[in-house]
């Protein structure tokens, strides 16, 4: 399937969803003007991927900042990957946070309590 490669801006994250190269990554800042429109193609892509997922999917979140509107959509993204995990495919979420960013670490911990997928916290 075609990869998604979205370049990051000062208010939208960089997103790579690339099956061939095994890269699933969200990074940067997320406070888009219209969160629903921004995340819609991403959610559609994951739905498509869920029909025939790889044996192992490692999704990397390396976000500097996201607003509460984005937090809902990020949960939607995670729930889609949870669906893939529920069908017996291995999914690992790598939640990256800047060493001194306790809020970002906490946000990851909260997501890991809501969705039932293995999470690893990675500081950088």
């Amino acid at each position: 399937m075609d990869a998604i490669r979205i370049k990051g801006t000062d208010d939208t994250p960089a997103v790579t969803l690339d099956v061939q190269n095994g890269v699933f990554e969200f990074s940067g800042r997320s406070l888009p003007e219209d969160v629903t429109t921004f995340y819609a193609p991403i959610l559609d892509w994951i739905d498509e991927y869920a029909k025939n997922p790889g044996n192992k999917t490692n999704v990397v979140f390396k976000l500097e900042y996201f607003n509460t509107e984005s937090s809902k959509l990020l949960l939607d993204v995670l729930m889609k990957f949870e669906g893939i995990s529920n069908t017996g495919h291995e999914v690992l979420i790598s939640w990256c946070y800047m060493e001194d960013d306790a809020n970002m670490l906490e946000a990851g911990e909260e997501y890991s309590e809501i969705v039932d997928i293995p999470f690893e916290n990675v500081s950088y």
Partner: protein
């Protein structure tokens, strides 16, 4: 002219660095947060305080943007669209927002604010997670997520006031304090 001078002096006396009245859009949000970030960089503000101020501004402006969109679809209101103020004092930044709203929205909003203020850190976390889950499950959910998050990130109570305008409308004022000590909350 005297009015302008008085206005200027009021801003200086209160430490207001930004006062805006009017429609809030995404572009304005970006401009205001960029100004505040630049000012804080110039003043060598602590990075955690910077983040907190940025976050509170984004969430407050987002609420006002939504509100601007809502009232544009209604008849014009003589009390303006909304006000946004950033002030700085010795020990804290203050972010103040104001917007007109119809009286029937007061009770649910006041209940939410009182509920947030009554909860401790753990209770606020639980409420945030609950609203977040509900928001992800329906398009309509998620109301108040920004307010809960502001309270969590600042560790301060949400100071608010409803000023009656006429029989149908009031003006809602919200004041958020971001302390300048760099401890985590």
């Amino acid at each position: 002219m005297k009015l302008i001078y008085d206005f200027h002096q009021t801003m200086v006396d209160n430490g207001f660095s930004l006062v805006y009245e009017g429609e809030i859009t995404h572009q304005i949000t970006k401009a205001f947060t960029a100004i505040a970030e630049n000012n804080m960089i110039t003043e060598a503000e602590d990075s955690r305080v910077k983040k907190r101020v940025f976050h509170v501004m984004v969430e407050c402006l987002q609420n006002l943007t939504k509100h601007s969109e809502e009232i544009q679809s209604q008849e014009p209101i003589k009390n303006g669209t909304g006000v946004f103020i950033v002030g700085k004092k010795e020990d804290a930044y203050h972010i103040i927002t104001g917007n007109p709203l119809s009286n029937d929205r007061i009770i649910p909003l006041r209940d939410l604010l009182d509920n947030i203020n009554a909860l401790d850190k753990d209770g606020q976390k639980k409420l945030f997670t609950k609203v977040l889950k509900e928001g992800a499950l329906s398009d309509k959910g998620g109301a108040g997520l920004g307010l809960i998050d502001i309270a969590r990130k600042t560790g301060e109570r949400l100071d608010y006031h409803f000023e009656p305008v006429d029989e149908k409308n009031s003006f809602f004022l919200l004041k958020i304090k971001v302390t300048r000590d760099s401890d985590e909350y």
